[in-house]
Amino acid sequence: MEQTENVGTVSAELKAIVEALIFASPEPITPRMLYRLLADEPKEDVTAAVEALRAEYTQRPGLQFVDVAGGYQIVTRPELHEWVRRLFHERSTQKLTVQALETLAVIAYKQPITAVETSEIRGVNTSGVLGTLLERHLIKIVGRKNVVGRPFLYATTKEFLIRFGLKDLTDLPKIEDMAEALGFDPPAGLAEITPREEMLPLGDDDTPV
């Protein structure tokens, strides 16, 4: 790659385009790709824009310009990775993964329910997700089931009701509710999802487990 001494003359517009492309590309963007996207520009100009950006990025505090997999990429500086990792661990409480949401839904409609029963309904192991839901106070242990192994029984919490704007568990939407409100066809055979009466007295928060 030719080191240009006329860095000052790099077209500002070209540099802007190149920066936007490198930033937005999900993969490291190769010089070939850049030449193709910017076919009207002389290759030397494109290269000069890349090199000008590379030089500018040495001045960026938190980011760096790297050559990787035959292409260019803008990434966070490696010495800051611990901070970035923390960011990914601080998950928001308002949001759930698909796994967690499904598990929560099964517990909400079938409570009280054991981990094994939840897994059976979902067809996948749910134990990891239960931990997440417990941590976020969306479910709690309400007792043990009187079967071999005496597994824990899970139910939703008062926090769950607050979080979803429910007065109580009878307030949970039923398939028919939704069908009426939104014009969805309720799938056949799903009528049994209405929570049964005996599930309703969800122990208050202060119920001893």
Binding site: A20, F23, A24, S25, P26, E27, P28, Q73, I74, V75, T76, H81, V84, R85, L87, F88, R91, S92, Q94, K95, L96, T97, V98, Q99, L101, E102, L104, A105, V106, A108, Y109, T114, E117, E120, I121, R122, G123, K145, V147, V148, F164, G165, L166, L172, P173, I175, M178, P187, G189, L190, I193
Partner: protein
């Protein structure tokens, strides 16, 4: 409001699409515009006549005229008849706000306001759509563990998640045993007890006790399979369609241990 006239969907394109009459209010606005009359002083007889003309046209074209259009037609006719009634004291009309058209005018203005709001939102969406966030490749790496996206969830997502789970469950072959059913371990012990009395029996005989329910049969069958695996029994068949006989066997030292057995390595 937009400084980027070259966007693929310009406000003009948007307004062209709006000209389809989605509801009666859209049609009324169209009539008011084409007649170049003031929305606050609608010539109700004229507009009603044209409105009804449109409905007839829609019927002739075999378009499905939604109920909302008919409700509006009756509203217009009602207003028109009230306008024809003589008023005892027209001077009081303004203060009392008795103009029969008033409620309709307010609805039309409100409707227009939200149409305009939708247009402005569309501009914002277009502008925002032109801003690209960084590609995710680099950060997934930095984050270390696999990043699973999370979604803001509400009651609807809860219900639709549950619906999805149930639909998936109904497509799976039903092998789930009712929780209060006898466990396979217990069934193995029962069957061993029986075999120790007789040393051998017919395969079908193993199924003869119990309540004969489908889950019970399944537990029994699974128990037999497990007993074969654990080398607790041998099974022989006399010929291709002959009777199957089950024999208890002395457990060889290299036999596998049951899963969950403390001796299981």
């Amino acid at each position: 409001m937009t400084d980027y006239p070259d966007f693929e969907s310009s406000p003009d394109a948007y307004h062209v699409r709006l000209s389809a009459f989605e509801g009666p209010l859209d049609l009324l606005i169209h009539l008011i515009r084409t007649n170049e009359v003031n929305v606050c002083d609608i010539p109700i007889a004229l507009i009603t006549e044209q409105y009804l003309g449109y409905l007839r046209l829609m019927e002739e074209l075999n378009l499905d005229v939604a109920g909302e259009f008919l409700v509006m037609a009756s509203t217009l006719i009602h207003i028109k008849s009230r306008m024809l009634l003589p008023r005892p004291d027209p001077a009081q009309e303004d203060e009392a706000g008795e103009d029969p058209r008033e409620a309709l005018v307010r609805r039309l203005l409100e409707h227009q306001k939200f149409k305009a709001a939708a247009g402005l939102l569309h501009d914002r969406e277009t502008l925002r759509g032109a801003q690209f966030t960084r590609g995710d490749g680099s950060v997934a790496q930095a984050a270390g563990d696999s990043y699973e996206p999370e979604f803001e969830v509400d009651l609807f997502s809860l219900l639709s998640a549950f619906r999805g789970v149930l639909e998936r469950a109904s497509r799976r072959p039903k092998m789930v045993l009712p929780p209060d059913q006898i466990s396979m371990e217990d069934r193995i012990q029962q069957l061993l007890g029986r075999l120790s009395e007789t040393e051998a029996c017919g395969f079908e005989d193993l199924f003869s006790d119990g309540d004969g329910s489908r889950p019970y049969m399944i537990v029994t069958f699974l128990a037999v399979l497990e007993m074969i695996r654990l080398k607790l029994i041998r099974v022989f068949q006399s010929g291709s369609f002959g009777a199957i006989r089950v024999y208890k066997r002395a457990r060889p030292v290299d036999a596998p241990h049951p899963i969950g057995d403390p001796q299981n390595p």
